[in-house]
Each structure stands twice: as C-alpha cells, then as structure tokens.
Subunit: 426 residues, 2 copies
Amino acid sequence: MAVHTVATPVALGPAVGLSCRECGERFDLGPIFACAVCFGPLEVAYDLPTGDPEALRRRIEAGPENIWRYAPLLPVPADVADKPSLNPGFTKLVKADNLARELGVTGGLYVKDDSGNPTHSFKDRVVAIAVEAARAFGFTTLSCSSTGNLAGAVGAAAARAGLKSCVFIPHDLEAGKVVMAAVYGGDLVGIEGTYDDVNRFCSELIGDPLGEGWGFVNVNLRPYYGEGSKTLAYEICEQLGWRLPDQIVVPIASGSQLTKIDKGLKELIALGLVEDRPYKIFGAQAEGCSPVSRAFKDGHDVVRPVKPDTIAKSLAIGNPADGPYVLDIARRTGGAVEDVTDAQIVDAIKLLARTEGIFAETAGGVTVGVTKKLIEAGVLDPSLTTVVLNTGDGLKTLDAVAPTTGPSATIRPSLDAFRAAGLAGS
Amino acid sequence: MAVHTVATPVALGPAVGLSCRECGERFDLGPIFACAVCFGPLEVAYDLPTGDPEALRRRIEAGPENIWRYAPLLPVPADVADKPSLNPGFTKLVKADNLARELGVTGGLYVKDDSGNPTHSFKDRVVAIAVEAARAFGFTTLSCSSTGNLAGAVGAAAARAGLKSCVFIPHDLEAGKVVMAAVYGGDLVGIEGTYDDVNRFCSELIGDPLGEGWGFVNVNLRPYYGEGSKTLAYEICEQLGWRLPDQIVVPIASGSQLTKIDKGLKELIALGLVEDRPYKIFGAQAEGCSPVSRAFKDGHDVVRPVKPDTIAKSLAIGNPADGPYVLDIARRTGGAVEDVTDAQIVDAIKLLARTEGIFAETAGGVTVGVTKKLIEAGVLDPSLTTVVLNTGDGLKTLDAVAPTTGPSATIRPSLDAFRAAGLAGS
C-alpha cells in the first residue's frame, strides 16, 4: 500500500499514520480527513505496545486519574500529561442498583456518567485529543461549528491550552447556550443561517487563506478528535476490573462514538488487557432523528438521511457519517439499534434522576429509554452485565423536563397548610 | 464536664460525641444542634487515629477516589464506601498557571474546582455526610430549606441513598432552579414567603409530629453536615503532596465552610500528615452581602446583620452564624476578609474562564475577585503557594454573565462577511 508523506513528520505517541477506512490507503499524520484516493474517512493507525499486558496494565494504573493514563493507546505525545489541558475523563461508572431493580436487570447495571467531565459532556474527551493534534500541527486557533456541547468544550479547552479559539454557531441559538459558548473569551461568531449553513461555511473557511493555522476539531482534526471516544471503552473495562461488559448502550449522533468504543474494546482484547469474549453493542436514537435505527430495523446497509425533529438536540444529526459502520457493528456483535419518543426520553431522564440521583442530558434519556425498551422487548438480556452511557448534563437541557417538573405543592408557611397538602409521611 | 447521653448510641466511625463550641459541654451523638446549657452550636468531637502517620497516609491513599478515603477522619461508619452514595469529592486541584501570570502570582496558584462534584457544587460533600447521620439516626426523609445548590444536592443524594426527600423553597424561585430541585422525584414544596419565612417554617416543622423521622441537613443534622467541608482541606493538602498551602481563599456564606477548612488543616497537623507550619486563611464576600468583611475591617468581634443585595446568591446570608469564628480564624492565621462588587464578580468569572477554561458560579467569581484585590493591595503574598476555592458551577448562574457575554460578531455565511468582521488572524 502506498504511503502519502508530509513535509514535517510529527510525533503523536503510538500513532504511525492515517489509514482510509474504505480502501486502506495509508497517509502520514497530518491535518487531513478524507482519503486522496477514494474520499473515504481517515482514521488513526497505531503501533500499539503489544508485549507484556501486565506491564501495560500497571503503567496505566499508575497514570493520572484522567484520559492521559491511556496515553500509550492514543495519538498524543508521551509527555501529554504535563501540558495544560482540562484533563477530562475517568468519570464515574455508577453501579445503578436502584435503576436495575426498576428495569429488572439482575446481571449488574452501570451508568457511565460523563456529565462529570470539565464542561459536563463527553466532548471534553474528543476535544482534548484534538488539542494535542492542533499543537503538533502548529495550529494556533481551535475552531468548530456547534449548536451546544462542543462549543463550550472547544472554548474551555483552548483557553486552558493557551490557544485562540473561534467557534461558529447558528445566530438564533438559545441565550443560555450562547453564554456557555462565549464565556471562555474566544471569538464566537453567529452565522445567519441553519446549522447546515454553518457547516458549509466552515468547510469553505478551511480551504481559504482566512482559515490558515486553524484546526477545526470536527473537520480537519476529525481523525484525532474521534479517537477520544476510545477512552470511554478503556475506562469502562478498567472500572469493571479489566473486564468487558456483556452489553453496552451508546447514543448515536454521527455514530462516531459507537464505532470508536468498539475500536477501543477490540484494542483491549488484542493487547491482552481483557479476556477475549463476546460483547454486544446497542445504538440508541431519538424517534425524531432515527435514520440508523430505521435502517437497522429494515435490514438495510445504507442510512437514508432524515430531517431531525426531537428534543435530543445533541443527537440530531439527520445524515450520520458513521451510520453504515454502526449498522455493521450492531449486527456483528449481536446488538441492535432502537429509538424512543420524546415523551419516553423525558420519562427516562426522570427515571434515572429518581433512582440514581443523576440528572442526564436528553442524550442520557435516549440511552436509558432505549435500554428500558430493549429489555421489555426481550432484546437486551437483563441477566448480563450492562453499561449505559450518559454523555451529558441535564443542566444544559432544562427545557426538556421543565414543562413536567415542578413543586408537589405551593403553600403558606404554616403547619396547617403543610398538613393539608398531605405530603408528610407520604 | 458532664456528658448528656441518648437512649440508643450510634456508631459513626471516629466521632465520639458532640461538644458545644461555646461552653465545651459534651453530648452523645444525636440529631441535636444547640447546646442544652448555653444554646451554643454543637460540633462533632473525635477520637482520631493518632499513632503512625505513615500507616494512616497509606490507608487514605489506598481508599476510593472520593471523600470516603477520609472516612477515618469523618463522622461516618467504617463501611461507608459500600453504601449507595453520590460519592462526591476528590475534585480537581487545577494548577492555574495562566491565571497566575495574569495576577502576578509566582509561588504557585491553584483552583480547587468543586464544580466537578455530582450536582456541581461543594454541597454534595456536606449532604453526603448528613445522609450517613440520617441513616444512623433512623430518619427516612431528608429535608432542607434552600434557594439553589442545596436543593439539588439533597434531592439527588436522597434518591441515590433510597431515602425520601422533601425540600422547601421560596415559591418564586427562577424556573430553572425549580426544575433542578424537582427532577430527582422527591417532594418539593414552594413556600409563599421569603427565604427567611421558609427557614422559620422548617424550624417549626422540626418540633412538630409532622416532621417526625425527618433529617433537615442544615438544621438537626447540621453538626454532621458541616464536617463535610473538612474534606476540602484534606484533599487540597493531599493533592499538594501532603503539604499545607501557604494561603487559601474561601467564600463566606454562613462561614461554616471556612471554619471547617481550618479545623481540617489543624487535624492534619495534629495527626502528623502534614508539616506543622503557618498558613493564612482569607475570607471572601460580595460587597452586597459583606457583614463579616465589614466587621473585619472595622476591627469588631461581632457581625452586624445586613440585608443581602448581590448577584452572588449562594453566599447571600445576611446574618452568618459562624461570622465571629471566621473573624477569629482570619485574625489568628494572619489572613483577612475582603469583598468585591458585583461587577468585579462578573469580571472574575470571565477571567477564570478565559485563563483556565473553568466556568465558575458567582461564588467562584467572589473568591477569584477577592484574590485579585488582595494581591493588588499587597495583603496576599504572590510569592507564596495560594489555593482559591471555586465552590459551584457557572451553568447554575448564567444570568450573572449573560448581559455582558455574547458573540463577537453575527454575519452572513460568506468568506467576505467573515473577512469584513476582522476576526481571522486576530
């Protein structure tokens, strides 16, 4: 296979190049994201530390309590932990016994709660890796298009890393989200148009001298960025005592996170860090944006784009780039892809809050709701160890639950009024 | 000294009783909070594991990555880590080199970032300890009066612990805060009146059969609850490599947190876990609610109550119960108490976000703002190791920064429009 080389080679730990997921063509590490031969997506290729699994395990366990403990498996320089970073990751894997009782799960139910990340979503993981790539390629400005979580993650990470940032958003975003995107002091640009218009504009900018020196985390840094999701797989296995879960339920937006979790699990097996045995990966979508679920149920290999209409806005990608790969993984592992209605999402957010004290973003409502639905349908086996991802924080999507969440009673400040409300001893 | 005993002794680890902070009278562990002799506040008395400091240090370091690693120093049962809890604590101690450069700090500046707790404020620490006391005393309902952070912390902790909860709030709280308080599924009661009315009502309820079996975390469980703040001191020292900071800047609401941090530092010295050398504690208030700062500057020992008027609502206690103790600690350690205006609070929130990617609650703006002011005044020594507390999350106080935080530009999706905006290469 030919290898396309770049002028200045960079050192990103065990990463040895990029390879095309479609045709296998190899490229040197660089700020490129599409295969020059077939236009397929590029992903990072590694020379991983095979050899003594025990030594690798000890090295990881002696590392910092964040994603950099897995630096030997990531496209980052060896001294990454010494650089200014938000240091995301190693979020709680919560043993959810109360939720398990409600859902009838007997084999152990866990919630991987990524609301514990610095800006309270899993995006901190992927952006942290993109920052290292940006540094390696000499970029001075970190950029992205976003409607929410990613904007805050990029702004915060750039501030801490000492990089400039310029984030592009649709001009009519809710006021709260604009504040979260702007507070870190980088440039924030409202674009008069839809999110698609914002994306198209960013693609133009990458090819223009105006965008020189700019790393767009989810475009020209995408191959590196995506690898951050592998850390979810690593952490889940390590937190289970270096054991694969039997079943794992992952939300689907572009589908990248699910494919990288699968990649991470396969790496741990190949490296001898976990026992090689089957696991099933389940994908979760909102009914109002369920192109992958639709294709799975119809037995199709291609994903027909849809126009999203759901409260789960962080998952509302109507044309998911990694959809076909998700279908392949769900089928190959014996998993499934399912969707839930907006009402079921809200119910699931409340169910998780009521049972485990975790207030999830709508995306967490999607995974918990799909888990419930798949158990009731007999697709997910309640006697097996199951991990459900919560990728964001309910504080960012208050509107989803606000209409149906309020006081039990409003009373005058008197014991008589409280007695009349009938809440004591309830 | 007489010891007042209760019918059923409880086991709360190294806690051996309660003692009056004023007259020293001793009481058995129980759900009481005021001295029966002099009405002074009660606090937990310990039989701490003096002996081999190295063994204790190793035991702590081998513990879980949350506050329960310090169980040998807290009023909790020995098996506390096995019980369902939100497991707060061990939040990041961020080395804030960018902020240090801006403030001219050369001795090492750190931000203890408690926005990383499960419900994103330090309240998770104190509530987690109160839950253990509630369990020990056989309470089945967890309760509190609150205008914000505490409501969410109590609702979430009770849900996870399998306790009922009933939280009382002023009826006219902002919609977002009501959602956060209600989403965990416990009872939430709006009281037609001010926060003072809510408090008075709760005190009535404790003395009434209606409140039987109820643990009010900040009233009849207050002696235990308050001890949770000691863990901030423990973590800071451990994260500094078992070293005392030279200076620490703490926000003042009731003043309890500051006094417990001092208590925690003194315990570490007494146990031989850190070297015995001087440290200075600084208190931070908002100008619009600065009774302790006022008393400090006037050289008074008593704190004259004020009517709060500040954006730092989580610190807006006009009659701080621990005010006199705070004055004593600030003076004894060579620290100070200072206040900043609302505008300075907003500037400080943005400064921290821009330099370190940490989006703080208004209380964090108060501590960072006071740190800046004290350095400029020559009171805080920039050549010494300094720790600044951020006790909450900016997502909960978006209104504070919203009026002055927004897009750099709003443009059509074209390169010409972007060029005209003058942001590229900026």
